[in-house]
Symmetry: D2
């Protein structure tokens, strides 16, 4: 499944160029990721309570078109890499006209909350992520 999440652009998210500041897209991607995990019935709040963290190890975003204040923006995302220790999600941000404005990915490491070290993810958790695994959704090859 590709997961779809909507945001309405906030005034505070714009900059003096009159467009959404580029640092906002990683925050929207994170909100979409939160929503994807809720959709797979494993909210990130639950993840952290079960002793697992998912820190970001890499982000990459390519900006094609700006988005503007009050725009209703759709973020599509899916898991594009998954193994016992690592996770990658790709994102596509579209404006109301359906134009792709921004694409990108984030990479994550499964890490123990206590140990703060890399850990193998339990297979039950891995299975949940698999329902959103779509390597063909990769936005930046």
């Amino acid at each position: 499944m590709i997961h779809s999440f909507e945001v309405i652009v906030r005034y505070a998210e714009t900059d003096m160029m009159g467009i959404v500041h580029h640092s906002v897209y990683p925050i929207w991607a994170e909100a979409a990721r939160t929503d994807l995990m809720k959709a797979m019935d494993y909210s990130y709040t639950e993840v952290e309570k079960s002793g697992i963290m998912l820190p970001v190890t890499e982000i990459r975003f390519i900006y094609k078109k700006p988005t503007f204040y009050e725009d209703i923006v759709t973020i599509n995302c899916a898991v594009t890499h998954l193994d016992n220790r690592r996770l990658k999600l790709d994102y596509s941000v579209k404006n109301k006209e359906g134009e792709v404005c921004v694409i990108g990915y984030t990479k994550h490491l499964f890490m123990g909350v206590e140990t703060r070290a890399s850990m193998r993810i339990p297979s039950a958790v891995l299975d949940k992520f698999k329902s959103f695994y779509h390597p063909e959704f990769t936005q930046i090859p």
Copy 2:
């Protein structure tokens, strides 16, 4: 009418105390205000296009209880003062249990986009705001 607007708390909005950072509430208030103006069929984007700006001249927020990552938070807001040149809105932020977590207000000046000076608001615009005028909603006397 009291206007009601929902946000889902983003991870980036939390701080190392584990709660939503206090500077986030003015941003949520602004998003609720945007939504209120859309509901009165006069989006803030339209406002600025018609040559009127609504800069913030004062904010005040009182923090009673924290909100947390992934919480679904409701912001109620209404116009609590309105004249030809000035506008005040009050806000009440509730968590899912209906507890009031934060209250506050923002004050605004009607200002010409070109002149950057205070201006009298056209009466047609004033009328639109009147439908959300509820001085009894005042949160901080």
Copy 3:
């Protein structure tokens, strides 16, 4: 002593009005507060390590003039109320021309990290804050 702290306005801190967004001033006030506490040889990092938190219970800011990208901005601050359980600081934000652009205050509660309840502050800590206690610096009466 009145404490003085400088920031250079970041591009990301501007909005589509071309000025610094109003939600940024509480963040600058916090950075000035951090610097004040470092100057009294009691960094906030130390505060939290010693089991004391200083959550914000109220903020109020009045906006007189905008500040702009790349401006060098001075935030003056001092303690304007202090007792065993509560703290208030006032702030004055000036641009390079020395014009007062924004004034405001923040109120804080001494709270135990473990108990998450209000606590009496140790007198040694109280003494440190006293060196920055200047009720006459109050910006908003």
Copy 4:
């Protein structure tokens, strides 16, 4: 020349993991870029006044170690690609112990403020950037 710029981590920049949120590093990179352009006697404010914008077309950051509240962080940056229409800068973020915490790059397009279209940069401007051109500073090959 490699340009060096310091920031002190703000409380608002941390998240509930207790570390600086990953979306903050692009903002620090931008502040370092602003400072680099000031050092080459061509502030970005001047750039925009002369009718040239430098929108971000791509960002990429790799996170190796966290940074924490109150840390004094050094951002080194240099121009790693430069032609008539495009600019790339690389960044290295170090903590006080000199450990590399985050590396990354940003790509930019020279764009006309009026036309909002890609433009050739004047050679006088190009020359200014050349003093910070160090392709060997590339952090992510």
